[in-house]
């Protein structure tokens, strides 16, 4: 977070004032979200609940235990990670793209003192906020079902925000380069689905060919799953390397959404 703000401030003159303007963009999204959440909030739980029931109970009837845990308990922390990932990605692919093109919301905002950098920062932070909202709610639900062993899981919540920033960054980079909205199917099929399947949510990756593990350690979801699983089991040690990885990835990716969106929007 600090790194992204630093990158963003160094990109545009004027310093701290811009953060306030990025906040205005965030506030716009918050206003819309709180207006609509009553009708869509329940839906947020539907998909994670379906995975838990189908995989946890269905497959769990055959796979009794993984690493000494009942199968449903094994996958539960991964569902927190994947739900928070999809929340940021939906928001910053389709959401951002629609605001940028069809709704022309970006045009309207850019006619005000808000700059393009403010706007992109607002989008990124909002995407991460969606990850956080999902991270919190899914954690509560999973804890209520008794699928979490340790209260250390609360430390995973800020990490869902940070990892949400990575997903928001990747999504906005993609938005900046796609020719049209149809291209998102490539993003989802070729990037999101493999990520979802091979990040250790449903099975430990050590059973897979070495190449799969080697690729997985370079993906954000793998690390968030790692963190959620470690904290859920009550240990910090397995999560340290993943936390470092996430912080590094947020910072390394930070300049690109700004640079590429500038290229796309300002001819």
């Amino acid at each position: 977070m600090a790194v992204i703000l630093k990158t963003y401030i160094s990109n545009s003159p004027g310093g701290v004032l811009q953060i306030k303007r990025a906040f205005r963009v965030w506030q716009r999204h918050w206003t819309v979200y709180t207006k609509l959440y009553k009708t869509s909030f329940a839906l947020n739980f539907a998909e994670p609940a379906l995975y838990l029931v189908a995989m946890g109970l269905g497959l769990g009837a055959f796979v009794k235990e993984i690493h000494g845990q009942p199968y449903i308990k094994f996958i539960a922390p991964g569902i927190i990670a994947s739900s928070s990932m999809f929340a940021a990605v939906y928001e910053c692919t389709y959401g951002t793209y629609i605001r940028m093109t069809f709704q022309k919301t970006f045009d309207a905002i850019l006619a005000t003192p808000v700059s393009l950098d403010d706007l992109i920062a607002g989008e990124l932070i909002w995407g991460a906020t969606k990850s956080l909202i999902f991270g919190i709610t899914i954690t509560i639900v999973i804890a209520l079902f008794g699928l979490v062993d340790s209260s250390l899981i609360v430390f995973a919540i800020p990490l869902t925000f940070l990892c949400g920033l990575i997903f928001a960054e990747i999504s906005i980079i993609f938005v900046a380069i796609v020719p049209g909205i149809d291209s998102f199917s490539y993003f989802y099929t070729l990037f999101m689905t493999p990520l979802f399947l091979f990040s250790g949510i449903f099975f430990p990756l050590d059973t897979m060919p070495h190449v799969v593990t080697s690729i997985a350690v370079f993906t954000p979801l793998y690390h968030l799953v790692n963190i959620c699983r470690a904290f859920s089991a009550g240990t910090f040690s397995g999560a340290v390397w993943s936390m470092v990885w996430i912080i590094a990835a947020v910072s390394l990716l930070a300049p690109f959404p700004f640079r590429l969106m500038r290229k796309r929007i300002i001819p």
Binding site: Q27, V32, Q103, K104, T105, I109, T112
Partner: protein
């Protein structure tokens, strides 16, 4: 005093020169119009003045500030009514104004009061809680105008403010613009309607192929070239009605 000055303004889009070395200045309190066929470069000039696009070469200052160096300062003092509807469809009519006011750092209490005054001004006060999609085309235009006035701008930029409107709605927008002129707001507009330019503009610049071919008061242009403003326009842009 000049509110906007442009010198040697050039804008290229991937090899294509959209604006080809134009100079002009807009005085405080006047209504200045850009006329010209599609693709003449009017909208590009407007977008540069509203700090949306950086010029390729030349300089543009608004309120004495450079558009590249001080965009946010300039934008805090201008209002922009775009050609296309870009109202926020996720928000109601009233919320559109409130959220827009927030971008200008206007306090909620003031924004609420302002939004009521503006909805009264454009005569859609009874639509405050309606969704954007339920507004007619004319009402959307009027809301866009109200939104452009949220920060009480010193310069109001209007890109084809009445295109696509029926005669009643067009008159309604003209009335409002005349009212603003009376209040000494500087207006800058593009239009395809000669009647609009004649009725509203103190001076017009006629553009063709990225250049300004004439700048003067409509009555002076008519006196110099003969006929009405449309005749002058067609003559200066080198097109006859048959084209």
């Amino acid at each position: 005093m000049d509110i906007v000055t442009a010198q040697g303004l050039i804008k290229d889009y991937s090899g294509l020169r959209a604006v080809n070395g134009v100079d002009f200045s807009i005085r405080e309190g006047e209504c200045f119009g850009f006329l010209g066929p599609n693709g003449a470069g009017k909208t590009t000039v407007m977008r540069i003045i509203s700090c949306f696009l950086p010029p390729t070469a030349g300089s543009v200052t608004v309120f004495g500030m450079d558009v590249v160096r001080n965009p946010s300062m300039i934008k805090s003092r201008i209002g922009v009514m775009p050609q296309d509807n870009n109202l926020d469809p996720d928000l109601s009519v009233f919320e559109n104004l409130i959220v827009y006011a927030r971008y200008f750092d206007i306090r909620k209490k003031d924004a609420v009061r302002l939004a009521r005054v503006l909805l009264d001004f454009v005569e859609i006060q009874d639509k405050a809680n309606v969704k954007i999609e339920q507004l007619s085309g004319g009402m959307k235009h009027r809301l866009l105008l109200a939104r452009a006035l949220v920060n009480n701008p010193d310069l109001l930029i209007l890109d084809e403010p009445t295109t696509g409107l029926d005669p009643h709605s067009r008159r309604a927008v003209w009335d409002k613009l005349n009212h603003l002129k009376f209040r000494n707001t500087t207006l800058l507009l593009t239009t395809h309607y000669m009647e609009e330019a004649e009725k509203l503009c103190d001076r017009v610049a006629i553009m063709d192929s990225g250049r300004i071919v004439a700048v003067d008061a409509p009555k002076n242009l008519m006196a110099a070239h003969g006929g009405n403003l449309e005749d002058v326009y067609l003559k200066l842009t080198g097109r006859s009605l048959a084209d």
